[in-house]
Amino acid sequence: MKKFIIIFTSLASLLCLCKHVFADDTPSWLDGFNIGGYSSAGLTLERDQEAQAALNEVSLLVTWNGDSRLSFFGELELENPLSWNDERQFHDQESRFDLERLYLDYNITEKVNFRGGRFLTPNSRWNLLHAPPLVWTSTRPLATSRLFPEGTNGVMVFGATPFMNGAFEYKIFAELLEDQQQDGDELAFEHVKGARFSYKNQSDIGISILSFREKGIDNSYRMLGLDFITHIKQVEVSGEFFQRFDIRNKDGGSGAYLQSAVPLKPIGFNNWYWITRVETLQRPDEATAERWLVGATWRIKPTQLLKFEFTGGSGDQPESPRGFLTSFALFF
């Protein structure tokens, strides 16, 4: 079955990428297709655990923009296609396909667009740009994955308008269909709806509001999120903060992170960046988890990152192992 999928995907890619040898003035609908993707592989030396290596994912991005107001986007991910540890050596037992995103966009007016399908919940900058070649570290801040749904199946209205030499963007969305499949440690949510407003200029700032029900603890929450990214003398500083409130307006969990990326060019390491991050997560009925991270990342090319990091802190969190991690990520 897997072989069939690989062959089918390869053939589809070739069909879409190959152009006609002869000139053709009438564009075919196939001309609107673009295929790309990203992948990452890494080694984890977790504290008190055996070493593990893995090809973390191979993701295929497919876009289609015809000569109309309609466009399509899809992301199909093959997660953990190959893993290695001392005990099981190389294996593919954790390998599985995941439809990360699949949606249609329709342009209504210049400033209003409609989206229907499965999309990333737009309430966190990291969540919207979480691909390994886009982020400085191998691990993801806990607050961006343990407080809200990462994906939503539903509808969205979005757009942008100029504002004070920058761009003001809005996204308003609501869930129509619950997730039909839950991954291992993934939290389950329902009745998701919310909005995000952001402003892009020299610095990017965003504010989001979200309402949802968390199935595991059977409680409804409203959440406020704030995020920013800016550059201070070549140093990238970014951070996010989330606060959840339950239906009685009491604390329903919170989390935050603050991260800096300092270019090491002044000391002779061109395209190397020193990364520092501190983060915290508080979930209902769970102990507070804290993390600190130091590391170095080499931007080999604009689309390739090699990362080394050391993580410490309190509390066991499978998504943020404490110890040494290294990984390589690329867009293709």
Binding site: T63, D67, F73, E110, L128, L134, Q202, F331
Partner: protein, 164 residues
């Protein structure tokens, strides 16, 4: 004290001409669409230019896809346009375009010469581009004029420098 003063004078003398040279090297840039296009239908304001070149506005009011075209990242006209309209050089926008790629949005099509911009704009439905104002011809019409200081004008400025 005297040495420091002398050093400052010498340093200023070295820096100031290079600054004025940088401005002298800048040109008047014309933002162009096809001459076949009715400009009034585009309803484009100068403030929307950055939305178009960030690819946050993807359609003209009539529902036609906007197809912005860039000169290559090393081209002086591209750098001047990018700094004035997008607030930074093309190199500073790498992270942004990687992020957009992840979300299925590709950067504007890039070409190597101003002649290629003129051909692309004149032959492609919905296209918009920019060229040195001295290189304008009848295939395109200018919607805006980007002045060396970064000011954007709607009316045609004097192009006397083109006659040199």
């Amino acid at each position: 004290m005297y040495r420091r003063f002398l050093f400052l004078i010498v340093a200023s003398a070295m820096i100031l001409p290079s600054l004025s040279l940088a401005k002298e090297n800048q040109t008047i840039i014309a933002v162009v669409v096809s001459s076949q296009q009715k400009a009034s239908e585009l309803n484009l304001s100068a403030k929307n230019l950055n939305l178009i070149y960030w690819r946050k506005q993807l359609f003209w009011p009539q529902g036609i896809q906007i197809k912005p075209v860039n000169l290559n990242a090393k081209n002086a006209v591209r750098i001047q346009f990018s700094e004035a309209v997008l607030g930074g050089s093309p190199e500073t926008q790498i992270d942004y375009w990687n992020g957009q790629y992840f979300n299925g949005i590709l950067p504007p099509y890039s070409v190597n010469s101003e002649e290629a911009v003129l051909r692309y704009v004149s032959n492609t439905k919905g296209a918009i581009g920019y060229v040195n104002a001295c290189n304008l011809d009848e295939r395109v019409q200018s919607l805006f004029w980007l002045m060396p200081g970064g000011e954007i004008l709607k009316s045609k400025p004097s192009l006397q420098s083109c006659e040199k």
